[in-house]
């Protein structure tokens, strides 16, 4: 696999769009209608959008909560008028959030919301050597792609969800929105548990052994199978974090189970500094075989089994995605809407899949240029493929919703007899 060299989308001030750029974007490019339909689960305005909280964030740092809109037109007009830097999507309440002032806060009850997941690059920082801070490149983006892969399989195979979409966060992360009816109904406690199920690596803590129970839960077995082939490429070769000897002592050796082995390796690497991660990874088995005495052959088998398990845990410790807890666990949590512009990078937060790399994201400035060049036809800009992808997703969601509403009606009729 070839990779472009550290092509960064750095957040230098001045790189982001101006307020008039934003005005332009909301006027000509932002897909209000599909977003509305998606959140509403139907083209005809209903509770799911009318009672839905949207919040706007402004350049000044101001943050306006409890907005809600009755129609696509109103949605567009209000956003255009307020011209926020970005806006965020929250829960469906029992009453329209915009009436918040006139009703008691205690009477506002969140009812439903998409289940959302948030993964962020900084979680991988301890194993990321190609870039640091806000920068990303196609090499380290593989962490995110792989995370998406693992989560996708779990959502489909385990939870039975079908209607979800990943959205680029605009800089160095991705959000997943799950629209399946069953997921929208989850309570806070249930969201928390779904998250616990997914979150295997609670902290990518460098100096603690993961020490997962055996046998692995099938979700872990499967995740390991997915991650293993990439471990050599991403961790051992490209990122090569353990070439740094201190890193190796601090996060590789601490993952092993045997004191003597750790001592032997430490000594060896001290006298042979800066061996690559790949070399160090194979040193472990080699020295365990040549330098340690095992009292019996069955003890020896046990030892190598245990060592193998440690290595499996290390694969998970370095590559298994860690999901942000706060974002997922609360129904009322707000998350940036798809197709917003990242205020620092000017990137559009487009829907993505596992093959995406950040440099593929359209930038607002380029879109404006494309519009000027082609007579203001959105269809001819580089945004269009992403709009198509999103529309397809929305169609799928509304179709399902329709079918399930019909089923419910029939069930109701049935149960009357």
């Amino acid at each position: 696999m070839t990779t472009s060299v550290a092509q960064t989308s750095e957040s230098k001030p001045g790189n982001g769009p101006s307020t008039s750029d934003m005005q332009y974007y909301y006027q000509y490019l932002y897909p209000f209608k599909p977003i509305f339909t998606w959140l509403n689960h139907s083209p005809k305005p209903g509770r799911d959008m009318i009672n839905r909280e949207l919040a706007m964030a402004f350049r000044s740092g101001a943050y306006k909560r409890y907005n809600s809109f009755d129609s696509v037109q109103e949605f567009k007009n209000q956003i255009q008028r307020a011209n926020p830097d970005r806006f965020e999507i929250g829960a469906i309440y029992n009453k329209p959030p915009r009436n918040m002032d006139s009703i008691l806060k205690a009477e506002m009850k969140p009812l439903e919301k998409e289940v959302v997941f948030d993964i962020d690059m900084d979680d991988y920082d301890s194993y990321r050597t190609c870039c640091s801070g806000a920068s990303v490149c196609s090499k380290c983006w593989k962490f995110i792609s792989l995370a998406m892969k693992v989560i996708n399989v779990a959502l489909v195979e385990d939870f039975g969800y079908e209607d979800f979409i990943w959205v680029f966060s605009g800089r160095r992360g991705a959000h997943c929105w799950v629209s399946d009816k069953r997921s929208r109904l989850l309570s806070d406690i249930q969201r928390r548990s779904v998250l616990d199920y997914m979150n295997v690596v609670r902290e990518r803590n460098l100096d603690k052994r993961l020490n997962l129970k055996r046998p692995y839960h099938p979700h872990l077995t499967r995740s390991l199978d997915i991650l293993k082939p990439y471990f050599v490429e991403i961790i051992l070769r490209e990122q090569d974090p353990w070439r740094d000897d201190d890193m190796a002592f601090g996060s590789l050796l601490t993952g092993l189970h045997d004191k003597n082995l750790i001592e032997v390796l430490k000594r060896y690497w001290k006298s042979n500094p800066r061996r690559s991660s790949e070399q160090k990874w194979s040193d472990i088995d080699a020295l365990a075989a040549s330098q340690l005495k095992h009292p019996s052959s069955s003890k020896k088998t046990d030892f190598f089994n245990k060592l193998h398990e440690c290595k499996e845990d290390l694969v998970l410790a370095t590559l298994y995605p860690k999901l942000d807890v706060e974002v997922t666990k609360q129904t009322i949590h707000l998350l940036k809407a798809p197709f917003c512009i990242h205020p620092a990078t000017g990137n559009v937060c487009v829907p993505i899949n596992e093959t995406f790399i950040p440099s593929n994201a359209p930038k607002l400035i380029e879109l404006q240029r494309e519009m000027e060049a082609n007579g203001n036809k959105v269809e001819n800009t580089s945004l269009q493929p992403f709009l198509d992808q999103f529309q397809q997703f929305v169609n799928q969601v509304t179709r399902k919703e329709l079918a399930s509403a019909k089923r419910e009606r029939e069930d109701d009729v049935d149960s009357q007899f």
Partner: protein, 506 residues
């Protein structure tokens, strides 16, 4: 007299589930004792109840209150255990004696059954009023159900499950089990090892071969999903039968939650009965602060060893709960205590075994040693007060030491006063300082105590402190780990441990 206080409180309407029937009428007409017997026979056919239909029949106002209080004691003990992170096994050992005494459930006795049934429904009335109370009630009732379930024989358990008629109790076919056997075994293997103690692989395999699996929406066993203790596939969880209790408990909690909301909506109708509301109110506030422990046996740990001097020794004082320490230091500083503080400390000291002569000595020393008060003044103004506390003056009541509930229900201390409960009355900074430096708790222990304080669960905070400063729960006999809601119980337990440790050294 007795006849007058008899009140028919227990009709369907009051309990809210079926509001529509016979409005304005107060009793469910004549249920005979024979019918009553049969009713409870069927309700408790499998020894344990899901409390799905409201109770019928009559009970007296006294029963109403006493039964509720007894159940409350049990629930509070459970709540306290949960707060202190006790394991299910530990909770069982701690709560069992209380359960046998207050809410026996494996009996055939009609009164016991009625008590169990009614007390549950009465407490629903108390705890339906706020989300917080509802959650607490659901949590401890669900725990109670689990405890009792585990105390039953497996035959009774099976019988109980059958009567439940739960949705989704669908066992998977042998073919499906065969198909998924790898994943299913992988998932439950460690639970078999750690929960059922099957340390041997062959035993686990054998168990697995026999085990039946229930397929149900994963949301129904969400805790097990979060802990990755069930296998899930396409939105369904495969629950091994030995984990079934989790599912049952979950259904119970859901049912209860719905019922409580319903009860809440119908509770205004209760206003007609002005005798119930104060009781209900009393019960539900009592629940948030403390329980109703009564200890008549105080003073045992220190027979004859407490006198006006020895009470100052560190061997004695290190067993004091924070409220008593606070009073002692207030007294030392000011050579005086105001009325509330005097009462609280004097009863506490009486409770740890200080007799009246020593008490008079103690107080007069304390008050006069500052040089501001003469012995005459003390005799004139205070002697009576302390003698009175010992029942030697006035109406000669033998006052009992105050429990935490009493302490917490009195006026809060104002400036220059030292009575009350420091966990409630001190500000966070002062409390943190005392916990971390005075008692040398580590930061996470301090946080845990402050957590309880923030939830206004002062006696739980105090019980936690007791455990933390007494070598953790490992040090204590497990049946001595019940909730502390009396400063004198704190002292007794601490003193006994201290003596045991001393004996061990010798």
């Amino acid at each position: 007299m007795f006849r007058q206080s008899k009140r028919r409180v227990a009709n369907r309407r009051n309990f809210g589930d079926q509001v529509s029937r016979t409005p304005g009428k107060f009793i469910l007409n004549g249920i005979t004792s024979e019918e009553e017997k049969q009713l409870y026979q069927s309700l408790y056919e499998s020894k344990l109840s899901f409390y799905e239909v409201p109770p019928k029949g009559e009970i007296t106002l006294e029963q109403f209150e006493l039964w509720a209080i007894d159940r409350l004691k049990v629930l509070l003990e459970i709540e306290s255990c949960v707060q202190r992170n006790k394991t299910a096994k530990e909770i069982e050992i701690i709560v069992k004696p209380l359960l046998q005494k207050l809410l026996p459930f494996t009996t055939e006795d009609l009164q016991d059954r009625k008590k169990d049934y009614y007390s549950h429904f009465i407490l629903r009335l108390c705890f339906c009023r706020s989300k917080e109370l509802r959650e607490k009630f659901i949590r401890s009732e669900t725990m109670l159900l689990k405890l009792r379930f585990n105390m039953m024989t497996s035959r009774d358990q099976a019988k109980f499950v059958q009567t439940l008629n739960l949705p989704f109790l669908q066992f998977i076919s042998d073919e499906e089990k065969e198909q998924l056997s790898t994943q299913l075994y992988q998932t439950i293997s460690s639970s078999l090892q750690f929960q059922l103690n099957l340390t041997d692989e062959t035993a686990r395999r054998q168990y697995f071969e026999q085990e039946k699996f229930i397929k149900l929406p994963f949301e129904s066993v969400i805790e097990l999903v979060g802990a990755r203790q069930v296998f899930i596939k396409k939105g369904y969880a495969y629950l091994p039968q030995f984990q079934q209790l989790n599912h049952i408990a979950n259904e119970f909690a859901n049912m209860l939650s719905l019922a409580l909301t319903k009860t809440y909506q119908t509770i205004p109708r209760l206003n007609e009965d002005d005798r119930l509301l104060p009781i209900l109110h009393h019960l539900s506030t009592g629940y948030t602060i403390t329980n109703f422990q009564q200890h008549d046996q105080f003073g045992q740990a220190s027979q004859g060893e407490i006198n006006a001097k020895s009470v100052y020794s560190s061997a004695i004082q290190e067993n004091f709960p924070l409220c008593a320490k606070n009073l002692m230091s207030g007294l030392k500083e000011n050579h005086h205590l105001r009325y509330q503080g005097r009462q609280q400390l004097s009863f506490f000291l009486k409770g740890i075994g200080m007799d009246v002569d020593e008490a008079l000595q103690f107080w007069s020393d304390a008050f006069t040693s500052g040089g501001q008060m003469t012995q005459e003044k003390f005799n004139k103004e205070y002697r009576y007060n302390f003698r009175h506390n010992y029942g030697l003056e006035g109406n000669r009541i033998n006052y009992k030491p105050w429990d935490c509930r009493t302490i917490l229900s009195r006026p809060r201390p104002s400036r220059g006063e030292y009575h009350g409960c420091p966990y409630r009355d001190w500000n966070v900074d002062k409390l943190t300082l005392e916990l971390s430096q005075g008692m040398s708790l580590n930061p996470s222990q301090v946080t845990s105590v402050l957590d309880s304080v923030q939830r206004t669960e002062y006696t739980i905070a105090c019980t936690k402190v007791f455990e933390m400063t007494h070598g953790g729960s490992a040090n204590t006999e497990i049946n001595d780990q019940s909730h502390i809601a009396h400063p004198n119980l704190y002292y007794e337990r601490s003193r006994q441990l201290q003596k045991k440790a001393g004996a061990a050294i010798k």
